[in-house]
Symmetry: C2
Subunit: 330 residues, 2 copies
């Protein structure tokens, strides 16, 4: 581990994982935190609840398809939803740079409120701090959320079995590319919008599969590749993706090629990836709607890893994200 | 309201209140958020829980008596405790500036872990984001917490009655003064330490008073004066403090005089203020321990306000904090 924090530590890939495991988990270790999943599962007087948090530092604050207010709400709703929990209430903590325009702040609060309303959840508590000019880049938001665990499901990497099917709820890589394009550094003439959206309805529909639903996640920072690598580390089997089945919009694919970035590593903010038992695959596809796809399967393997089979019959290893090709994407 | 966010908006006083009411509450309005108390109270499948969040931007990150890691844990534990809730679990979101030393980060995580352990609660979920050099001042932490409501109590400003007694759990103004002195701008030779500590044991002891306990708060940003003004706004009666009974350490009082700041406006991070029925005053004092004091009473008044009676027989109006004499204190 290097001696100072680097941007790669915040990218959601290998360095992030190392920082979390070697420093935060090492210091804060407890049974609730230890699974390092999207939400901690705990019992409140016998009621099973999920608890999660995410900090948002996306730049710019407003981008095609969304803004930091909406993103911060959807991200936390989604972390609860993919943990098999029905969102009950959110909190939002704002760190604001002195001089930030109040009308922009109001627009972001409005956007957060609209997203919360769309997800059927309230922002129940908040806090606001102000730092001097130059001590923040406009605004940072940290949301937390509490949800009620769905008793129908038991989601865990350890429940994933060889033969299980990998599904994604729609086309990938839109959020990260939209944010990169919004920065204007690239001078590409593409109209890519962020996919920021709540996935609680899709997650709820999958929960109806009961124990045939093994595991869900929302592939944000580090993209589908990193999320599936985290799964593989916990389930002791390989995930084999079929590249041609992974939905990617043409303009997003073109932007990825121009940027030299694999869409598998680009953040999504309104998609979920799920693993289900083979006989539940058709029901899962129907539950997720017309944009969903089966993109791979789980295979027994001596050395668990994520593989991607190309349309030409070859296959490549898909490792976790290394470095930070897309800083401050969420 | 001015057109941009100012430091006063983050100070916890009048401008903060206006920002929260006129902008955040206006946009995010819902019955859980509306009371604007330290924690939102909600029901999870019939189990009553409290939910709270606080962002921490204190400068410097380490100060006599504590650091941002400990402060962020104690602050959220305390917001739950004074809401009559037993802390169940916390979350912590870190926004870190690129280049931040990893050993300092580890020390702050260690400190947060120690504080959590002392309060009998786990940091169950976390998130880490990294921003470029210059886009943050070292590190910001936002904690959230969930707690189980104590069924013995029903705490609300509306339950406060004329004749009720005001207590504080110990001497005031230490945290704010310690942080100001730690900045070194003042060149005062005083050894004031922050009072950062969890108050959950004191709060729990007061909960044993049942419905004779009317209301509790931890007087942080804006100090005792601002906290009591917020109470008065919600209870339609006046609070009359007796200045000579308010515990202030001599060195803290001296620093306040040199700085020209009333200790009533200085942040505390390990104290609680409580209102109890008159016949419960002695039990409350015993429950809070030897540093506690009765500092005033609630009086019927046509124009509810906070008053402070001086040792010379006069009295003055104690308004909410205006402006920001002590920026980035928590």
């Amino acid at each position: 581990m290097s001696e100072v924090v680097t941007l790669a530590h915040g990218a959601g890939g290998k360095a992030s994982r190392r920082l979390v495991e070697d420093l935060f988990l090492d210091e804060l270790r407890n049974p609730l935190l230890e699974p390092l999943s999207d939400a901690a599962l705990l019992s409140a007087n016998g009621t099973r609840i999920a608890l999660t948090t995410d900090a948002y530092v996306v730049r710019p604050l407003v981008f095609p398809g969304g803004d930091i207010g909406e993103l911060a709400v959807n991200g936390t709703v989604n972390d609860l939803a993919v943990s098999g929990a029905h969102p009950l209430a959110l909190t939002a903590g704002f760190v604001i740079e002195e001089g930030f325009p109040l009308d922009e702040l109001r627009a972001l609060a409005h956007s957060a409120a609209r997203a919360a309303s769309a997800a059927g959840v309230a922002v129940a508590a908040g806090d606001t701090k102000v730092v001097e000019r130059g001590a923040a880049d406009g605004l940072y938001v940290t949301t937390a959320g509490v949800g009620l665990l769905d008793p129908r499901v038991d989601l865990s990497p350890t429940r994933v079995r060889p033969g299980d099917v990998v599904l994604v709820s729609g086309s990938i890589a839109e959020h990260g590319i939209a944010v990169m394009l919004a920065r204007g550094d690239l001078r590409l003439e593409l109209d890519v919008e962020s996919d920021t959206a709540p996935v609680h309805r899709e997650a709820d529909a999958l929960c109806a599969l009961g124990r045939q639903l093994r595991w869900m996640r929302d592939p944000t920072r580090g993209g589908l590749a990193t999320t599936l690598n985290e799964l593989v580390a916990g389930c002791d089997a390989s995930v084999v993706l079929s590249e041609s089945t992974i939905p990617v919009r043409e303009d997003v694919r073109a932007a990825c090629e121009l940027l030299g970035i694999d869409p598998l590593y680009v953040a999504n903010e309104g998609k979920l990836v799920a693993i289900v038992a083979p006989r539940a695959a058709d029901s899962a596809l129907r539950a997720l709607g017309p944009d969903a796809a089966v993109i791979g399967e789980v295979r027994a393997d001596d050395v668990p890893m994520v593989l991607c089979e190309t349309p030409f019959g070859g296959s490549r290893i898909v490792d976790m994200l290394v470095g930070d090709p897309l800083p401050r994407i969420c």
